[in-house]
Assembly symmetry: C2
Homo-oligomer: 125 residues x 2
Amino acid sequence: MRRNTPTKEAVLNVLTKSGKALSQDTIEERIDIDINRATIYRVLNRFCDDGVLHKIVAENGKQYFAICNDCEEEHNHDHFHFRCSTCETIECLPIEVNYSIPVGYSIEKTNCVLTGKCKDCSNNL
Amino acid sequence: MRRNTPTKEAVLNVLTKSGKALSQDTIEERIDIDINRATIYRVLNRFCDDGVLHKIVAENGKQYFAICNDCEEEHNHDHFHFRCSTCETIECLPIEVNYSIPVGYSIEKTNCVLTGKCKDCSNNL
DNA sequence: TTAAGTGCAAAATCTTTGCAAATGT
DNA sequence: ACATTTGCAAAGATTTTGCACTTAA
C-alpha cells in the first residue's frame, strides 16, 4: 500500500494551491523543503497511476501535472488544456474534447493542448 | 532564399511515401544516403517554417512531422492526430478540432493527439 | 561569389533508473 | 520487520547549437 510522506503532501499542496498544471521543476521551486528531482517525478507518476493527478504533455515536450478541479466526480480527463505562449502557464479548460472515432479505431486517451494568450496576457498588451 | 538540396528531397520523399507523421530517427532510418541528425532536424524545422510540414508533439514528448494530405488547399492544421499505442504510428485524422474559446483568451495553434489502437492493430488481436 | 546548407562534436533539456540508506505502518 | 519511499549519481533520450567547411544559385 501507499504511504503518507512529506513529499506527497508537499507536492499535492503546491498543485492544489496553484490550480494549474505544473511541471516538475516548478513544483520543486515552490516546495519549501528540499526534495530530490527523481523523487518528485516518482511521486507525480504514482499519483497519476492512482488517478489523483493527470499528466499533460505540452508542445515543448515537457510533462505537466494537474489536479483537475472540474472532474472530481467523474474523473474524465478528456478536456482541453490551454498553454499561454506568453506566461507559459498551463491550465485545464472546462471544455470537453469531442471527436468522432474513425471506423476500426479505438481511443484510449487524449492529449489536447491549445496554445495562445491567456486572459491576463491578452490584457497586458 | 531556400535552396534545393539532396537532403530536402530525401526527407520529403520519405514523408510523402509514408503518408504518416514521422520522427527524426525514423526519417533517418528510411533515407538511403547518410544524413546527419542535426541536419535532418534543421531541414524539418525549415519545412515547418515554410508551411510545408507541420509538427506534432506526442505524449511521449517526441516531435513528429507530417505533410498533411487533407489540408493541401486551406493549410489548416487544426485537426486531430492519432497515435497507435501498439505500432506507434502517428497519423493525421481528417477530423477538425472544435472548441469554444474561453472569454478573454485567444488561440494560436492546437496540438491534439488521440491515443488508442489503429485499424490494423485492432484487427490483429 | 556568397548566402544557405551541412557535418561533427558538444551542450542543453527533461526524465528515468539502479542501488543503498532511510522511513512509515 | 519489511515493503515503500527517498537521495544520489549516473544514464538515457531527444533536440539544439557553435563553428568550420561545403555547395547551390
